[in-house]
């Protein structure tokens, strides 16, 4: 059985202080205007326990928007790989975001392992937190984003006004928790309280749900290649890539190089990219294998609902609802699109 401890809120400032001596510590906090984000912890910063969703996806910390991969010297003909992997703690990740990180872990490890990602990941401690509120556009509970039982070092569940049940996921996590001093093993009653708290959170998220079992999604898509749904929405697409860039599971990047003004030294870097951008599928000879908005729009849903599933047995969407908000055209909602396709294709299993 998982080791669990009971931790009190009053112990937290001391823990945060100690952790931040060795780690860059990020916690959920207000980003103004009713938005939240993971922010660097500093003395006195108020943790937003009731945050609904972090505005930016956690992939920022593991696959930064722009990352240097190689530094080269054109005079000496030398090139050095660059690996940056700051020690960091991501505190308060909701389960759907944890699920997204677990997915990235698998995808970055497969094929030729992405060393830059893996080193950052290794240096990153993840402390998950059960949500107390749900963003109005989220639908994670109907898509398997509510129960995530691996990938964390510690998992926090608020069980009282000032107490938490903390489940241990790794020796590193337990060690960090010990900085609080003597640990109090959780009682059966505390574990029961945590179980109920989780159920409450999942119930909250159920107001936005898929109309069918999420595992059917690849088959629903398989019947929908020629659906009129694609055109209906794609005419509004601005090809802005926002839906890709805010998605915690999207990981595409472009690699470019830049030399200094004297053309002596330079760097190769990677930068987030997205399949919704018009030039994403542009290859040599000026051939674009997804030239139309409809092609790109459909492709994203096939990525989310079929291609990733075919690889790892999970949907490439964890239901965080970020893309739904980020799309200024109001067309990036996987929940409504999947539901429409299901209804249209005869609601059959």
């Amino acid at each position: 059985m998982t080791t669990t401890y009971t931790v009190f809120q009053e112990q937290l400032p001391d823990l945060f202080r100690k952790w931040s001596q060795e780690y860059a510590l990020y916690v959920p906090a207000s980003a103004g205007g009713g938005f939240f984000d993971l922010k660097p912890w500093r003395e006195g910063l108020e943790v937003a326990w009731e945050y609904d969703v972090a505005y930016n996806p956690p992939k920022r910390f593991l696959l930064p928007p722009r990352e240097t991969l190689v530094r080269y010297d054109l005079r000496k003909y030398t090139a050095e790989p660059v690996f940056e992997a700051p020690k960091q703690i991501l505190f308060g990740l909701h389960p759907y975001d944890l699920k997204a990180v677990n997915q990235l872990d698998q995808l970055m490890e497969g094929g030729s392992p992405d060393q830059n990602y893996l080193r950052r990941r290794e240096a990153t401690v993840i402390m998950a937190l059960d949500p107390l509120t749900v963003s109005p556009t989220a639908f994670w509970s109907s898509i398997g984003g509510d129960h995530v039982n691996h990938g964390f070092d510690l998992y926090w569940t608020k069980i009282g006004p000032a107490s938490f049940l903390v489940a241990v996921g790794s020796p590193r996590g337990e060690e960090l928790l010990r900085a609080a001093g003597e640990l109090l093993p959780a009682t059966a009653a505390d574990r029961e309280a945590a179980r109920r708290a989780k159920l409450r959170a999942h119930a909250l998220a159920r107001s936005n749900s898929l109309k069918y079992n999420w595992e059917e999604t690849p088959r629903v898509l398989g019947r929908s290649w020629d659906s009129p749904v694609w055109r209906k929405y794609a005419v509004m697409c601005l090809a802005c890539g926002s839906c890709n860039l805010v998605c915690p599971t999207c990981y595409c990047f472009d690699i470019r190089e830049e030399a200094d003004d004297r053309l002596e030294q330079g760097e190769r870097f990677r930068q987030w990219d997205g399949c919704m951008l018009e030039s994403f599928a542009l290859v040599a000879g000026n051939h674009n294998f997804r030239p139309k908005a409809l092609d790109r729009y459909r492709h994203r849903y096939f990525r989310k609902g079929k291609y990733i599933y075919d690889k790892i047995g999970e949907l490439g969407c964890v239901g965080c609802g970020r893309c739904v908000r980020a799309c200024t055209a109001g067309i990036a909602n996987p929940l409504t699109v999947f539901n429409e396709l299901w209804e249209e294709s005869g609601n059959e299993y």
Partner: protein, 247 residues
């Protein structure tokens, strides 16, 4: 191109803010200028020559006489680079295209207005062939440096062909539309790092339309913010007056 190409700067209707921005590059400029000879650059040297290979042209065409002068520059230059919003897309000068000519002529020239013929403001490319563009109001100094390097190397200068939203997301900004505000990042060419949004404002479209901009959708998206027609139109006309965005 010869080892040390001669470059010259020219300005039409504009504020010379772009030349200033280039002059601000200081150290970097010296490195780049090591590869060129500047024969005409008001912000850097007083020397003035007429023999040049690469012409950097700032400002938009607003008077009949401008057209002739621009054609002469084009005839002389091997490479013509448009510098800044006014030169690339007409920019704020195009605001006058939506006003009565009598009104703006009097506003600008006062009682002697009738001695100064003017015409609708236009970007350089409406009159001559432009080989490369450095967009923005003002231009981004780093981008200017890069485009110059590319021109010197004989490469086709590259500009991002995706909207400002991409860079806005990289920066982690909260989208203005989610705050109930308007923003032209959805149809504007990236390359500035979405600096205006990062600074708390919104995108005005100063870098011009992104290739393939979906104007029909943008219009609906802007209208959905609940702003009145006039406010949407004003925003679209501020920089994008020479494009179909204002229709």
């Amino acid at each position: 191109m010869t080892a040390k190409p001669k470059i010259a700067f020219f300005d039409f209707a504009g504020c010379e803010g772009d030349q200033l921005q280039v002059a601000n590059l200081e150290e970097r400029l010296l490195d780049i200028l090591g590869h060129v000879e500047v024969v005409n650059f008001r912000e850097v040297a007083t020397r003035s020559g007429q023999d040049y290979d690469i012409a950097f042209v700032e400002g938009s065409v607003t008077r009949p006489a401008d057209e002739e002068r621009l054609r002469q520059i084009r005839a002389q230059a091997k490479v013509l680079v448009a510098l800044g919003a006014c030169a690339c897309i007409g920019g704020v000068n195009c605001l006058k295209n939506f006003m009565s000519e009598n009104v703006y002529r009097e506003e600008v020239y006062g009682p002697s207005a009738r001695w100064y013929p003017t015409a609708p403001a236009r970007p350089l490319k409406a009159v001559v062939k432009v080989d490369a563009e450095v967009p923005g109001c003002p231009v981004d100094a780093a981008e200017f440096a890069r485009v110059v390097k590319e021109v010197l190397l004989g490469k086709a200068p590259w500009l991002p062909d995706w909207p400002v939203c991409v860079e806005c997301k990289l920066a982690g900004n909260i989208c203005r539309f989610e705050m109930g505000r308007m923003c032209l990042g959805i149809i504007t060419r990236a390359g500035c790092g979405a600096c205006c949004v990062t600074e708390g404002a919104h995108c005005w479209g100063c870098r011009g339309l992104v290739p393939g901009a979906n104007l029909d959708s943008a219009r609906i998206v802007l209208d959905r913010t609940g702003q009145d027609r006039k406010a949407v139109q004003d925003l679209l006309r501020f920089y994008l007056g020479d494009t179909a965005a204002t229709l």
